[in-house]
């Protein structure tokens, strides 16, 4: 049997007719590579794969937020012979380490004794059919010695990490200030809500290229980062590089939610498969996915901004506290991105940013599009509004005065030398905004808000250098050009833009370029599909490899393979110790204008129009770039308005799609995207990252628009109807204290 692989080649007749070869591949909105499969229902996502003989897996989870396991009892009245049970002990017996490989080794794959959050995995079950599995699950009894959980950031005592960024002398600058404005902002949890829940299928063997089964483990799953899963499997199941094989199935959305969590799902599926001696499918239902998987870090951010009466920005003093949840996951890196973006896209001579991430007993928070920046930019952008209000000047004027220009330095002391577009996107958005319409109804008030944001492309600081991502482009004996990378298609268009970049660099027509499957036994580690790095960093490597291949093909013959490894340009300097230097190779920029209506009877907020001007350097595929921008903005509108997670005893109460609500087509505003192309010299054909930036701008613009409509400041997201109505009634003071 061959593993069912998502096909790397889908050049159907339709695609051939649509992608008639032309002079340029880059910058054209060609039909996406995976389009035909997706519109016909032929694309195979994890749960669609038919695996004969596979058993179903299931995770038994904690029902307390904090404590220790006193006893696990398998009801002797039940016939356990038809069920495979895996506990933490099985990991050790298999020679592996009970850890989910990430930054810190604090998270066990299965709880051994200590419980740190609700829904923590304790036991795994597998059975041939779902009914047996469900019945078995009902016969597992776990007794706990519960302890008092820490569920409030204000009471958290354990720190995961702290960061301090210092530029100039904030204290001295404040003494020269005419006005100092202080505000505190709050941001809430958010669920990624990919429409395809987490899932993986594990096989207790691997197959060689000639179809022979060998010792090892193969996992096919819904995931963003094949090599993250690969590393996690190796440690938890004591496998060699070759023995662990990870293949990405078609993936129904990620948004960061499938960055690190799939490692846990894969380990679980693999443990079950190994013990059962047969393939096991472990696919979460929506309830489990919502209850157990990572969310966006909530937090509290305080700004003290010092200005002169004429609006001159003297100092920004910023404090960020993020809630990491029960395990570290990627929290230090999220905090890093939050801190680096915290001053906003503004030039300020004196900046101090103190950031810390704390541990609580909620399910671990993790990667989510924007990765800390939406949180800190929310505060930064609203701070501009508050300072403008205090000075009595339009906030747009203040932004224009403060914004970063070529030659300015950021909070980390990075001198911006090119592709700096704060002013261009501001102007473009202002020109593109629709005329302000007054409300026709007395109980509905209309308002407009604006935000200006930037987002670093690629890993922070020395991240890309340490990672040293690799790709290959080959010319096969069959006369086909093939791209080999581990960067995944999760909807954003990786498969399509990589082919465009390679075709352009090779000077060949698009249909001659194909992409190898995202399978760790076939492709090199180009790094995770995260951090707005795929188009710019990995796309850049593909361009370089393709250019070299083109040169060599002038004198060499097929088959030929060119591999490229990321090498940091020697003009990029970063110091991990002092947090000084070039935090990112380059930044993308966006200005977003939101028009909305507030119903003063109900506090309901309806965003009607959203205009966003975005500089992504060069849109390799304009329609897909717009698609990223539109989707990200709606996700941010959802975070800003209706996406609220309530907690009880450390458990998310909104654990169904009937209670965790995201915007529908009827809730979505009319979105107009204006692409401003200000190329980056080292990006492929000028491209910068675009994946996360669209998550940054809408939330502060929504809050500013609510203020414009009603005169009340909320300073927090989500601005639910309940909070808006309470603020309208003047019962609620906003913007102070530590409260969740």
């Amino acid at each position: 049997m061959r593993f069912p692989r998502p096909t790397g080649r889908i050049l159907l007749q339709y695609y051939r007719t649509m992608s008639c070869s032309s002079d340029t591949a880059v910058g054209r909105s060609i039909p996406r590579r995976d389009g035909v499969e997706k519109v016909t229902g032929r694309a195979r996502y994890t749960d669609d794969l038919v695996v004969p003989g596979a058993w179903y897996g299931r995770t038994i989870r904690s029902t307390v937020a904090c404590g220790t396991i006193r006893a696990i009892t398998l009801d002797p009245a039940f016939d356990w012979s038809r069920v495979v049970v895996v506990s933490a002990d099985d990991i050790a017996m298999g020679g592996g380490e009970n850890v989910v490989q990430l930054i810190r080794d604090d998270q066990p794959a299965l709880a051994q004794r200590a419980i740190r959050h609700q829904e923590e995995p304790i036991l795994l079950l597998a059975a041939a059919d779902k009914t047996t599995l469900e019945t078995a699950a009902g016969h597992v009894h776990i007794m706990y010695d519960p302890a008092e959980p820490v569920l409030d950031l204000g009471r958290a005592t354990e720190t995961y990490t702290t960061i301090e960024i210092v530029k100039g002398d904030v204290a001295a600058a404040r003494r020269q200030a005419d006005v100092v404005v202080e505000r505190t902002f709050r941001v809430g949890l958010q669920e990624q809500l990919y429409i395809e829940p987490q899932g993986a299928i594990a096989y207790p063997y691997r197959e060689t290229s000639n179809g022979k089964r060998e010792a090892g483990v193969t996992v096919i799953g819904s995931l963003q980062c094949p090599y993250y899963v690969h590393r996690a499997l190796k440690r938890a199941l004591a496998l060699s590089d070759e023995q662990a094989v990870v293949i990405q199935a078609e993936t129904g959305g990620g948004f960061g939610g499938k960055e690190e969590y799939p490692s846990l799902v894969a380990i679980h599926a693999a443990l079950l498969a190994r013990k059962a001696g047969r393939p096991v499918r472990l696919v979460y239902d929506r309830h489990e996915d919502l209850a157990a998987t990572t969310k966006r870090h909530p937090g509290v951010i305080t700004h003290r901004t010092a200005v002169r009466r004429d609006g001159t920005l003297l100092a920004q003093d910023i404090e960020i506290v993020l809630d990491g949840g029960a395990y570290c996951t990627l929290t230090p890196v999220v905090l890093s991105r939050a801190a680096i973006h915290a001053a906003g896209p503004y030039s300020c001579p004196n900046v101090r940013i103190r950031a810390r991430a704390l541990a609580t007993n909620t399910p671990p928070n993790g990667a989510f599009r924007g990765f800390g920046a939406p949180q800190s930019l929310f505060a930064a952008e609203l701070m501009v509004e508050h300072v403008a209000e205090r000075l009595g000047v339009p906030s747009v004027e203040l932004r224009r005065k403060w914004l970063l220009r070529v030659g300015d330095t950021t909070a980390t002391g990075q001198k911006l030398s090119e592709s700096v577009s704060a002013e261009q996107v501001l102007d473009a958005a202002l020109r593109g905004a629709p005329p302000v319409r007054p409300s026709a109804r007395p109980t509905v008030r209309r308002g407009r808000g604006l935000s200006l944001v930037f987002h670093g492309s690629g890993f922070t600081g020395s991240g890309e250098k340490k990672l040293s991502g690799r790709v290959a482009v080959e010319f096969t004996a069959a006369g086909e050009y093939r791209i080999l990378s581990a960067s995944t298609e999760i909807g954003q268009g990786t498969k399509t833009i990589f082919c465009q970049i390679a075709a352009e660099a090779l000077g060949v027509s698009l249909e001659r370029v194909t992409l190898a499957p995202q399978d760790t036994s076939l492709v090199p580690d180009s790094g995770p599909t995260v951090a707005s790095r795929t188009a710019m960093i990995v796309g850049g490597l593909i361009r370089d490899a393709a250019l070299e291949l083109r040169t060599r093909l002038a004198r060499e013959r097929a088959p030929l393979r060119v591999e490229k490894t990321y090498i940091q340009a020697d003009t990029i300097h970063w110091d991990d110790q002092t947090y000084r230097g070039d935090a990112y190779p380059v930044y993308a920029w966006a200005c977003t204008i939101v028009d909305l209506e507030v119903d003063t009877d109900t506090g309901e907020v309806r965003v009607t129009d959203l205009v966003t001007a975005v500089d992504c350097g060069k849109a390799i595929h304009p329609v897909m770039a717009e698609g990223q921008i539109e989707g990200g903005n709606l996700q941010a509108v959802g975070w800003a308005t209706i996406e609220e997670i309530k907690m009880k005893d450390g458990r998310y109460v909104n654990d169904r799609l009937a209670t965790y609500l995201i915007p529908t087509a009827l809730d979505a505003p009319r979105i107009r995207t204006i692409l401003v192309e200000n190329p980056y010299s080292r990006g492929p054909f000028g491209a910068k990252g675009i994946g996360e930036l669209p998550m940054d701008g809408a939330a502060p613009a929504v809050i500013a628009a609510i203020h414009d409509a009603t005169g009340v400041w909320l300073d927090e997201v989500p601005a639910t109807a309940e909070k808006v109505l309470e603020a309208l009634h003047g019962k609620r003071e906003t913007g102070n204290g530590m409260r969740r």
């Binding site: 009827l666 809730d667 109807a721 109505l725």
Partner: protein, 265 residues
Amino acid sequence: MPGVTYLRPRDLSDAVRLYAERPDCRPVAGGTDVMVMLHAGAIRPAPGALLDLWHLGELKGIRRVDGALEIGAAEPYTGIIRSALVQQHLPALVEASRTIGAAQIQNRGTLGGNLANASPAGDTLPVLLAADAIVRTDRRTIPIAEFFTGYRRTALGAGELIVAVRFPLDGRVLRFRKVGTRAAQAISKVVLAVSREPARVAVGSVAEVPLRARGAEAALARGDVAGAVAAVVADIRPIDDVRSTAAYRRAVTQNVLARLLEGGP
């Protein structure tokens, strides 16, 4: 669901007979509630069988009967929305039906299901209350005001099936508003239907049952709109839950009631 028999009656009398024979069966029409609960294992005790009413012609259709509008218990909301009769005589019911879920749910959800499920948040139920609708079953008629007896409990007896809902056509003007978290696919946080003459104030999602706000109605009957808005707070018993707060529900019930009684929106 494995283990749950599927019963497909030929007609209504067959359905009544089957229900009498199998008291452990659960009637189902469009399945928008029952199938969710069945799959989640949320029906306790688990039903032994599903009694499918969806295809029964006697439970479909919209017609005028003796000065009333009668809507079949298994007529989907889409049929109600598209019906010229309902549009003409009961526009508030069309409006309420449009707020239920979205196309998929409107194509399957039914008044009979909304009644039998008896959720306090059922979007059409305040309209039925404000309209003094009459629930017709296989054996009797039940005034809507007597239908809801407790949290998800109804006046239906053992083996009793809802056949149709009758709306007296007495010219009353109903106004409706649902407040949910989003524009579609939302369960109401507050849902109201009101009539000035006769005085009717019906509210959903603010108590264990959809209810008539009797204090507010008494004030309204005296022509005291401000009094009705003040009194409604004492008529309702909202709670904090996953969707909203008691305070919000109280405030919005008052605000929306005031707005509906002044004629808008």
